[in-house]
Amino acid sequence: MLRTHLRNAIALAIASCVTASVVASASKLVYGELALGLRSALSSPSLLALVGVALLTLLFVSTLAALRRGRLGLGSSAVVLLTTAMASVPLYALLALAFPVHEDITTVGSVAISPLGARCFVIAALVGAVVLGSFAWAMRAAVPVGTHVRSLAIGSAAGIWAGLAVFVFCPSGDSLHVSFGHVLPVAAIALIGTLALPAILRP
């Protein structure tokens, strides 16, 4: 049986590898080039840097709060968990909708972008599900305290990983597309985590 810190490291490695490989292969398959989302946003580099740093900070903080074990081995405190969990998804939605770094385009070359973001939804759901699964495995039976809040925090963290994936993949800044294809799956993953994880996390 692996110790928790090793399981956490493996879960983080899985999350990073799966996110990178899904984004890379989907970009190559759909648009024929890597990380088109980042390239299309280079027209406003300062905004891209700002949103990118904010997203990475959000990812780091939510993941740390969800996975850390703390001084007593009982995980992050309830206040930290609740704050990060409740703030992560709304902050992601704010970043995605209020600071659109991508242009409002409907086609890339000959490839049409779905107005409701069907491809982005699938990619976000795939990445989110794998990250949620790996984080749940890492924290399974690890912390006997606050399982419901911790589930919400893990779900939110997995959602942010999915949000980062579509941010890098998708070149569209259309608000309807972003709402359905980017923000909705992030919220859905957080909700699924909240409902499904308590029984897994409890020792």
Binding site: T4, G70, L72, S77, A141, A142, T147
Partner: protein, 189 residues
């Protein structure tokens, strides 16, 4: 006390690393306090036995998740409380009426001083019964906060970590439980 907790944590770490031989010493150190905690939590010996047994089983299953250097006793308390809550949820879904069982207050080990009179012994027993009854009747959240801070000597900050809430909330709950107990004892005396 501090040395005992350190030894307990060291033993738990050894056990978590796969050294099964450490279990015997770990059990000898951990079991009395953990069982007492379960007894106070459930207020009935039969329930405490079940809760303790289930907690030890869960502790064994989850031993690899123990964090090196963490307080093993607090970790065990948190597992016991989680086990107790699971049991409460189970019985709420499947309620059944059972006969009166012997509880902590009428335990034969609760003796008063031999020099006291039968009247004072009877009074002490009455107070104990009233306190045990009041503890069993009060809300689980207030009771556990009281048990941890007043009876087990855990700081409000650590109790907050064990129960997944804030230190201020723990102080409030423990104070409410204390006031409730005082009122019950005053009514009896």
């Amino acid at each position: 006390m501090h040395a005992e907790l350190d030894e307990l944590s060291a033993l738990m770490d050894s056990y978590a690393s796969g050294n099964d031989v450490a279990f015997e010493a770990l059990y000898a150190l951990l079991a009395p306090r953990l069982y007492r905690f379960c007894l106070r939590l459930t207020a009935k010996r039969a329930d405490a036995d079940d809760c303790f047994q289930e907690t030890m089983l869960k502790l064994h299953r989850a031993r690899a998740t123990y964090v090196r250097g963490a307080n093993a006793l607090y970790w065990a308390f948190a597992i016991a409380r989680s086990t107790y809550l699971t049991r409460i949820r189970y019985w709420r879904r499947r309620p059944e009426t059972i006969g009166v069982t012997e509880d902590v207050a009428v335990d034969e080990t609760l003796h008063t001083c031999a020099e006291t009179t039968p009247e004072t012994q009877a009074m002490a027993l009455e107070v104990l019964e009233a306190a045990a009854f009041e503890l069993a009747c009060m809300s689980e959240k207030n009771r556990i906060a009281y048990i941890l801070t007043k009876q087990e000597g855990v700081s409000a900050h650590d109790a907050a970590a064990i129960l997944g809430t804030t230190a201020e909330v723990i102080r409030q709950r423990a104070h409410r439980a204390y006031a409730q107990l005082r009122a019950a004892i005053d009514r009896t005396v």
